[in-house]
C-alpha cells in the first residue's frame, strides 16, 4: 500500500503548526494570509489522507468545501488589504486595530 496514512497526518500536523506559528509571529498581512492558507491546506491534506484510509469520499468532499471557502475568503481578504494599502496605511496588522472602536 506504499506510504502509511499516519505519515500524512504527521506532515499535516507539521504544516499546520508552521502555519499557526507564522500567523502568530509575522506582521505583514499578506504573509499572514499565506500562513492561513498553509493551515487550511494542512487540514485538507489530513482530510484526504483519512479519506483514503477509510475508503470513503466524505473527507475529500470536505476538502473541496474548504478549498471553495478559502478561495472566497482570499477574495475578501485581499480586497481589504488592497484598500488599506491604497489608504496609505502601513502593512502591519498590529497597526490595523481600528475595529476595536
Amino acid at each position: 500500500m506504499g506510504v502509511p496514512a499516519y505519515y500524512f497526518l504527521w506532515l499535516s500536523g507539521v504544516l499546520f503548526t508552521l502555519g499557526a506559528i507564522g500567523v502568530l509571529i509575522r506582521r505583514n498581512p499578506l504573509v499572514i494570509f499565506m500562513c492561513i492558507e498553509l493551515m487550511l491546506n494542512a487540514v485538507n491534506l489530513a482530510f484526504a489522507a483519512i479519506s483514503r484510509y477509510l475508503n470513503s469520499l466524505d473527507g475529500v468532499a470536505f476538502a473541496f468545501l474548504v478549498i471553495t471557502v478559502s478561495a472566497a475568503e482570499v477574495v475578501v481578504g485581499i480586497a481589504i488589504i488592497v484598500q488599506v494599502y491604497r489608504a496609505g496605511r502601513a502593512m502591519d496588522v498590529d497597526e490595523m486595530d481600528l475595529m476595536k472602536e
Binding site: V23, I32, L98, K100
Partner: protein, 626 residues
Amino acid sequence: MSTLAPLVLLLPLAGFLVNALFGRLLPRRVVAWVGAGSVGASFLVVLAIFGQVLGGQRLDQTYWSWWATGDFSVPFNLYIDPLSTLMMLVITGVGFLIHAYSIGYMADDPGYSRFFAEMNLFVLSMLLLVTSGNFVWLIVGWAGVGLCSYLLIGFWYERTSAVLAARKAFVMNVIGDVGMVFGAFVIFLNLRALDYGTIFARLHQLPRGGTVITAICLLLLVGAIAKSAQLPLHTWLPDAMEGPTPVSALIHAATMVTAGVYLVARMHLLYDWAPTAAAAVAVIGAVTAFFAATIGTVQVDIKRILAYSTMSQIGYMFLAVGIGAYAAGMFHFMTHAFFKALLFLAAGNVIHAFRDDQDIRHMGFLRRGLPITFWTFLIGTLSISGAPLLAGFWSKDEIIRSALTGTNTLTVALGVLALITAGLTAFYMFRLFFTAFGWEWLAHDERHLHEAVRVQTVPVMVLAAFSVIGGYFAVGSFLNPVFGEARQIGAGTQIGIGLVAVVTALAGFLLAYQLYARRPALAPAIQARLRPVHTLLWRKYFVDELYDRIFVRPGYALGAFLSGVFEPRVLDGLATGVVSFVQLVAGDWRAWETGRVRRYALWTLGGAGVIAGYFAWVLLVARSAP
C-alpha cells in the same frame, strides 16, 4: 375588434412615452402634435369600434395572463360593450378637443412637454379604467387617474397652494381607493372571481339585499364618491381648480370625476341586487347636487363656481344611477362632458384675457372683447341650466322625470330636491354669467381684451355645437343592451314634468336677471340681510373647518405627542437603558477587545489547543483507565 381595442390604449401610451422621455429635446410643435395627435388617433379608432358595437358586436377578450397562482389568475382582458364605448367616445373625443385647446392655452408654459405627457398618461389610465374587464386592472386605471390628477393639480408646483391642493386631492382619493380595494377583496372572497363576466354570472349565489352584497356595494361606493367628489369626500374638487384650466376641463369636469358614475353603472347588476346600497347612492347624489348648488350661489372664483356646478351635476348622475335610471345617468354624463368642458375652456379664455384673475367681480363687458367666448359660454350656460331643446335639458329632464315617477316616496322626494336644484343651477350659472360677462349697461370700464387664438376657440365652438345637439343622440337606446329597456312613461307625464322643470329653471334665471343684471344694488342688500346664511354658504358649510378639527388637528396633536414625549422619553429611554445595562455587565471584559489580530489568533489557537488536549485526554487516558 380584438385588435382595435388595445390600439385605443396603445396610442396614448405611445404619446406619453415620447413626450415623457424625449419631450424636452423635441420642438414644441412636435410635442403638441404627439400629445394631441395620439388622443385624436385614439378617437378615430374608437369611432371604428363604435361602428362595430352599433352592429351588435361585443368583446370580452383576454390578451395575456398577468399573474397566476394555483387556480387564481388575473388576466388582462378588455370588456367592450355600449357602456364602455360611450365612455371611450367621450374620453377620447372631448379629450382630443381639450388637448388641442391646450396647445394654445399652455403655449407660454415652460412645462409644455411635461403637461402633454401627463395628460396623455391620464387619457391612458382613464381608458384603461373603462375598458378593463376585471377589478385588478380597473383599480390600476383608477389609481392611475388619481395619480395624474395629483400631478396635474400640482402642475405649477412652485405655488404652495397648488401643492397643498394636489396633496388634499390625493389623500381624499386614496381614502376612496382603499374602499375600492376592500370592495374588490370582498367580491373575491365571496365569488372567487375578479373578472366582470364571472362576477355577474355568480352574483345570484349571494342572497338579494343581504349583508355581503350590500357591503360590497357600499365599499365600492366609497371609492366612487371619493373619485366623483360627492359628500362627504367632496372637499378636494374646488381646491383642485389650482391646476391649469384644461386639466380642470378634462379631469375635474368631463371624465375622471364621472368615474364613480361609471363604476356604479358598470356594476349595475350588483346595485340592483342591493337596494339599500342603491338608495344610498341616490341619496348621496341628490343631497350633493343640492348642497353644491347652494354653495355655488355665493362663490366669486369663476373656476370654483364651475367646480361646485360639476359636483352638483355629478350628484344628478349619482341620483340617476341610484334609482336605476342608468341610461339617464350616462346620458347626463355625456351632455355634461360637452357643456362643462365648454364652460371650463371658455372660462380659461376669460382668465387669460384678465391675466389670471379669476374673481368674477373683476370681470365684465366681454361681448365686444371676446365675442366667440361670450356666445359659446352663453350656450353652455343655457345648456346646463336646462333651457329647452339644448342638450342639458334632455338629459337632466330625464333624470328628474325618472325620480319623480318613482315607485317609493324616497325616490319622489329626491326628485323634488333635484327639481329645486335645477332652479338653483339656473340661478348660480346666470349669476356667474351676468357678473363675469356683463351686459353693456353693467360695463364700468373699458379694457383692452383680446380673444383667444384660433386653436383655443375652435374646440370651444365644437363643444358648443355638441352642447346644442348632444341631446338628440339616442344614448338611451344605444345603452339598452346593457341596462335593459327603460321604464315607459306616458307622453302627458313627460311633457308635464318637462314644463315644470323649465318653469323652475326660468324662475332661477329671472331671479339672477333681477339681482345681477337689472338691479345690481339689490344683491348686496339681500346679502346683508341674510348675513348668517351667506356666511354659511361662503364658508362652504364649514366642512373644511370640521375636517380640520376632527382629523387634521388631532393628527398634529398625536404627532406632537409622539415626537415630543413618546420618542425622547420612551423609545430613547429604552435604548439608553439597554446600552447602560450592557456597559454595566461588560465592564472589565472590554480590555480583551484590543483590536490586535495576532492576539486574537493566539487566543483562538490556545482555545483550539485546549479542546484538542481534552480530546487527547479522553482518548488516551480516560478510555484506558477502567
